[in-house]
């Protein structure tokens, strides 16, 4: 039995230590906002925060998350950076199909929390691990800048 701190709540889960955090969140805990895209950390759909740092949950063993604060898209709006990012996403109408946007928002929120005025290069570095098939990248870039100045 492992105890996880998910969005400020202690959750006990009976799963193998090497099970990826993604599937613990989705199929055991039932938090469906974190998405499966590729399974090998190529697309960023599954991004969550461990102690505020963005990680790809599809390749993070659940045992590595024990003792750390896990934050998912469901709770990122409770952080100042996350709330600003979500608002900017809506203000600039970033979203199309939306499937990748949980991961995009988690990456962007981590960037903004650590860097209040990111440059284009900072945005490229933080966001290039997140694929968007709908092609919302120009609006994501604009929304991060919008959030940084709002």
């Amino acid at each position: 039995m492992l105890t996880l701190d998910i969005n400020g709540e202690a959750r006990q889960v009976e799963v193998p230590n090497d099970m990826p955090l993604l599937w613990v969140l989705r199929d055991v805990v039932g938090l469906m906002g974190t998405k499966f895209g590729c399974g090998i950390a190529l697309c960023g759909c599954c991004t969550v925060h461990l102690d505020g740092e963005p990680v790809r949950s599809c390749l993070t063993a659940v045992s590595d998350a024990v003792g750390r604060k896990i934050t998912t898209i469901e709770a990122i709006g409770g952080t100042p950076a996350g709330a600003r990012i979500q608002k900017a996403w809506l203000d600039l109408e970033v979203v199309q199909c939306g499937y990748c946007q949980s991961g995009q928002i988690m990456s962007a929120a981590a960037l903004l929390a650590n860097n209040p005025s990111p440059s284009d290069v900072d945005i490229d570095t933080a966001m290039s691990g997140n694929i968007c098939r709908c092609g919302t990248y120009p609006r994501i870039r604009a929304a991060i800048k919008h959030a940084a100045t709002s």
């Binding site: 599937w23 998405k35 399974g39 199309q96 199909c97 939306g98 499937y99 694929i131 098939r133």
Partner: protein, 722 residues
Amino acid sequence: MIEMPRAADLKRPDRRTFLAGSAALVVAAAIPTGGRMARAASAVGPFAPNAFIRVGEDGKIVLVMRDVEMGQGIWTGASMLMAEELDVGLDQVTPDFAPPNEKLYANPIFGQQATGGSTSIRADWESLRKAAAIARAVLVEAAAKQWNVDPAACRVERGTVKHAASGKTASYASLVPVALTLPLPTDAPLKDRKDWTLIGTPQKRVDTSTKVNGKTVYGIDVQIPGMKIATVAMCPVLGGKVRHVDDAAARKLAGVVDVLKIENGVAVVGDHFWAAKQGLEALDIDWDLGPQAGLSQADIEKGHADASQAAGLVASKVGDPDAAIAGASVKLDAVYQLPFLAHAPMEPINCTVHVRPDGADVWCGTQVPTRAQGEAAKAAGLTPDQVTVHNHMIGGGFGRRLEAEYVGIAAAFAKQVSCPLKMVWTRETDIQHDRYRPFYFDRIAAGLDAGGQIVGWTHKTTGSSVMARWAPPGMRKDGIDPDAVECAEDPIYEIGSRKVSWVRHEPPGVITAWWRGVGPAHNIFVIESFIDELAHAAKQDPVAFRRPLLGKTPRALKVLELAAEKSGWGSPLPVGTGRGIMVQSAFGSFLSVVCEVQVTDGGQIRLRRITAAMDCGQAINPDSVRAQLEGGLIFGMTSALYSEITLDQGRVQQSNFNSYRMLRMNETPPVDVHIVESTEKPGGLGETGTAAAFPAIANAVFAASGKRLRRLPLAGGLASGA
């Protein structure tokens, strides 16, 4: 009978007219009033004058969405059209999924319940406004009747009917009981455009507030009590089958519940996806590889090249182009090739099915709800009316979810267990067992006279017919697939002597499918690249060369000029960079795109800037026009640069985003979209940018490097010296 857009009203004959005149179109030609019409069933609301609108006594206004939402913004556009004529705010309506029902929800252009081909807004423009105008007329009539006043003296504001002279007001909700007793008019006038408050104004999308906090439920997110989760392995060789499975090791794994077989696949059922996936890896499957075990990419390409030697079916012929080219001062001919493409939507293919003795439930995202229902019924041994389809927000369609074979596969496994079964494809299986955009092999030739005028033009395309498999009634009587020659048979340019022909060639083992941009994305790449070749052969600027050829399409000329102007066409650029331009008329809209690229010394192609000028007729939600163009262009640039599905020993060689890579943030340039104000009927959007991307970047690569790449994808084409 309400007037609906007829296929004949569309700008160009194409695959979307395929059921014109058939019974299906006649059925769709009236605003359907059956099924959902509550007035027959009950005297207490909701007021549901047709299949699209339900006004409840609680004030809730539900708009039933014929079109599925997969990111293109159609739920917002369709809601705007109906809210406009209902005189309610966009914030007062709730869009909802249409159930599978061809009679009620067939797209009047397609003649079937399908969302695709950039047809939604063109299909909705008249029909949904009429549906709402009729609803409004009855609600106003209900108010006027109880006040004993002239309906014409009433107006509506945000769903409240007002009579100025008496000061009386009544909400739509309060009028429902009376409205239910009134006869339905067969028609109602549409608003004058000067009275529009929504159409043409920027509106916030209706579907996005829950997409930024993880609350939107896609098909992959459904949670059904008692559900188990499975993932599937299919024969690595296309068309192969399962001979034997040794599942002893898999069944010993914690969390693995069962191992199931169908003819061409094996699924492991688990308590969670991780157990299922580990179980799958522990299987020892003996595959019957079938007849394609030796199939190579070279076989595929040679098959197309050989087939293209045939004369083919002639789609259009004017004059004697062969003689004209033979007598021309400058002759050019070229071969263009386009690869198989996978769709790779971010939401991997998935479907949840619960089969019971008396029926089944299906939860998924689909562009074709009735096909999904039919596939599930067939696989589960049920009739379609025994299958309930719960459609969901779609995490990327691009044509992939116009196929419903995955629903049949999920049902075939699910009928072997008693619990609801969620089937989730791995990304690898999603890419390796997709249905692919056809490979195309095009031969094109033209002649120029001494003045650089085109005197003859021949274009012969060779490839698989998606239409012949997916919608056989869409084939023309003469055997032509209209999709294969769309935008080619009747080019936007005035070319006196021309011939366009088509050779159908079905590659062995590969099932082909619609892919964003469909026929136009293929033909526009070939035509606009070759026009660029001709401009250079005539020693003319590509804009100046196109200008006099566009006399019959002034809207195309206008966007060409606008894109050129906004991109700074002709202004100096650094060494190693160049601009390419293209122009198209497709999906009912006119678009010109200028792409600016840098080609590095190592032959790498870097996007610098994209400028688009669009005339899509009346824009419904102008910001959605921009968003669709930005996204469609970037989607197309990904494929132009990188995308290619190849086969070796009958197996798809690409498997995930490392081998089937996507454009990323750091590679994406600024995209500027300029919209031409227009009062013409709305045109389609979703696929326009994708079609435009291919020639825009290829022409830019030529301008930057002097090298003409006639084969997609482009990346690697310069480095390898091709």
